[in-house]
């Protein structure tokens, strides 16, 4: 019983850390702050689920945490891939240029 409450305390502490990450996500002045906060938030969600799985003795929850770990990583890398260029304006300009070259036949 006491281990259950200790695990609860750990889960709540992780939830507090999640809330702190959330406030960085709200405030984050640059785009990269937000990406960092989202990635870190995902890691903490995984931790919360792992603790929850041990807390309830439900080992299937751990599977979902595993899936989160993979999705979180892939999503972060994919987001960064969109912003690979030095700035978004260049990326957009390149895209519209490509559209102007390739999209000439749709008018």
């Amino acid at each position: 019983m006491i281990m259950l409450w200790i695990n609860m305390a750990v889960a709540l502490a992780v939830a507090v850390a999640m809330a702190l990450m959330l406030s960085r996500l709200f405030a984050g002045p640059t785009l990269y702050d937000r990406v960092l906060a989202t990635n870190s938030f995902g890691t903490k969600t995984i931790l919360l689920l792992l603790v929850y799985g041990v807390l309830t003795g439900e080992s299937a929850v751990t599977d979902i945490a595993l899936l989160y770990a993979l999705i979180n990583f892939v999503a972060t890398i994919a987001i960064l891939k969109f912003f690979r260029y030095r700035s978004l304006e260049i990326a957009l300009a390149q895209m519209s240029l490509r559209r102007a070259i390739g999209g000439g036949d749709d008018e």
């Binding site: 989202t38 938030f41 999705i71 987001i79 895209m95 036949d105």
Partner: protein
């Protein structure tokens, strides 16, 4: 409420998740930087997936994490990059009329809350008949331990086929709108998921 928490301490985690969901929802409405809005929708999906897990809906949490937090975030991000970076501020009259609409709808729904079954009530009409039958029969009929999978793929297999048709139609629609093949491929081509 206190005795509910003592019988089921995991409710505490649910309450923290609810608080965070509310904060994220309000932030999505307030922010005008579309990148932040899209990231916050991903976080919202992740949080609701965690809530699904704590409400015993493991499969739903699984799908919501993969589809809601993964694919929709990427789709929205691609669309945002192809269109605009930030939203323009809304006029005061529009803000207040929308607020009035939300308030009226919310008031009507809150009025209806009294008729809802209590949270976690095993005798609620929604939990009494068909769901119980599925739980009792799955072992003999299908022999798959996961009841949700059994209902989705076997009892309700044709509905799932219909769902696949809907996804196919959506992919076709996206292709027709954005024009695959004849033009250069674009980032939004992931739309056929």
């Amino acid at each position: 409420m206190i005795d509910m928490i003592v019988t089921d301490p995991t409710l505490l985690i649910e309450y923290t998740l609810m608080a965070m969901l509310l904060a994220v929802g309000v932030a999505i409405v307030r922010l005008r930087d579309l990148f932040a809005v899209v990231m916050l929708l991903g976080v919202y999906s992740l949080l609701s997936a965690a809530w699904f897990v704590s409400l015993d809906a493991l499969d739903v949490g699984f799908t919501e994490a993969a589809v809601g937090a993964g694919i929709s975030t990427l789709l929205l991000l691609a669309a945002m990059l192809l269109t605009a970076r930030s939203a323009e501020p809304v006029s005061a009259i529009r803000h207040w009329s929308a607020f009035a609409v939300a308030l009226a709808g919310g008031a009507a729904l809150f009025y209806a809350i009294g008729d809802m079954p209590a949270f976690g009530d095993p005798d609620a009409p929604a939990n009494a008949y068909v769901g119980l039958q599925y739980l009792e029969r799955t072992q003999a009929d299908i022999g798959v331990p996961n009841v949700v999978t059994a209902v989705l793929a076997s009892y309700r297999g044709f509905d799932t086929l219909g769902e696949v048709v809907v996804i196919f139609a959506a992919g076709l629609g996206v292709m027709l709108l954005l024009g695959m093949g004849g033009r250069k491929p674009r980032k939004d081509g992931e739309g056929e998921e």
